[in-house]
Symmetry: C2
DNA sequence: AGCTGAATTACAGAAATCTGTAAGGACATA
DNA sequence: TATGTCCTTACAGATTTCTGTAATTCAGCT
């Protein structure tokens, strides 16, 4: 089993919970924790330079900001930074994020080894995940394999996201059109915008703009 | 110190984290945990009937629904149920909720003894809270005392919340009006609804309904 | 060049939103 | 009873949304 693990998670209680699982259920005792990405990175660097490198990183994705100013602010950046030094370190992401395409992106672009979704069965999932990763497997969460989710099927391009954001900021279609024209972005007629938004209505089964924004806010798409 | 504690929290990792703190940092070892409200309630009943009542309940507010059908679905109901049997049990709420008026409501209406906000400093806050409650104090979170938040100033009554929810579900004002009339809820003219929503526009500095819903979604109000 | 399909644009009408003004009722106070 | 305030309701007009249809452009393909 892994003998040295780094846990990066800003919520202290969750941090403690992970450590308890690693301790009691998996039998890993050499664990260090960090509440901030910068802190995690420093601990990693020090251990690496001392020839006592970590074998596994368990990290959250989003870290709440507070008074401390951080250079690394997200789990993704942390992973990038650590992997650039020690490419073979195993990485498990532990996050609230449950959007399949976002999780998929982590596996594809950052080659993470496992993903555990914060939730009701996180303990067993975490145990399974650590075991699997130790044996060299790539462990995807149930959310990904079972997913018949709406947001997996729907492809949103940059323009769609931009439209949704503008709408959520209360701009009218006319204002959006003006803005697009100013920026020389290609589909910029009011009817083209109408068409696109109508398509989004279909995709998300929304009744009107307000409904649409509520849905994509709930999905965390914007 | 408390000798017997019940922890109700659906996120397993957080659950484990709380137990670890109680164990390691406060020295409480007789702890039971529950992932569901019903489960917590049953454990409480059993202990009470066996003359081995719990002295402290630490509970979350919201419990995610899954396949198991529950009769008690929220921490508030759980508190009500338990207090109706054992009025003097101490209660600490541990939740993500950070709206001052909601937290205040818990102290005022349910006489909870302490509140800890899930967050970066939850460990120390929890320790402080358990200590304080044990000594008979009422322990409010820093969020309550420091808060200069917008949502502290704006008072939303039940009708406001209902309107926002209906709007976020894509209902038109006409549909909302019909629904209110059916349920015999008093202000049910279209213009009354208009007025109320307009007031919300002012409160939240929203430009239109879509913008408004985006804002209150971001604030977590619905 | 000519064809085809997809995307963009223009236009138009019905429905809904947003913003006023005005009138009526409930309620407390003097 | 009279007065003022607050809330509800009615109505109206300008603006915006939503949903069609039809014309135009553009890229890929033969």
């Amino acid at each position: 089993m892994f003998s040295k693990v780094l846990v990066a998670e800003d919520y202290e209680i969750a941090n403690q919970g992970i450590i308890k699982i690693l301790n009691d259920k998996i039998g890993i005792h050499n664990i260090e924790q960090a509440k901030y990405c910068d802190d995690a990175y420093l601990k990693f660097r020090k251990a690496y330079n001392d020839q006592k490198a970590f074998e596994l990183l368990i990290t959250d994705l989003s870290f709440k900001e507070d008074h401390k100013i951080q250079t690394i602010t997200s789990g993704v950046e942390l992973i990038k930074g650590i992997r650039s030094i020690q490419p073979d370190i195993k990485v498990i992401v532990y996050s609230q994020e449950n959007r399949p395409d976002k999780i998929n992106m982590l596996f594809k672009n950052f080659n993470i080894n496992g993903y555990v979704c914060k939730g009701q069965n996180a303990v067993n999932e975490l145990i399974r995940c650590v075991d699997g990763v130790y044996q060299g497997a790539t462990v995807q969460p149930p959310e990904l394999t079972n997913s018949s989710e709406i947001n997996m099927m729907i492809h949103l391009d940059d323009l769609d996201i931009m439209l949704l954001e503008k709408l959520s900021h209360g701009l009218t279609k006319k204002e959006i059109r003006t803005k697009l024209k100013k920026q020389n972005i290609s589909p910029n007629s009011e009817s083209a915008i109408d068409k696109r938004v109508s398509k989004l209505f279909d995709d998300f089964k929304a009744k009107n703009t307000t409904h649409l924004i509520a849905i994509v806010k709930d999905l965390g798409l914007i």
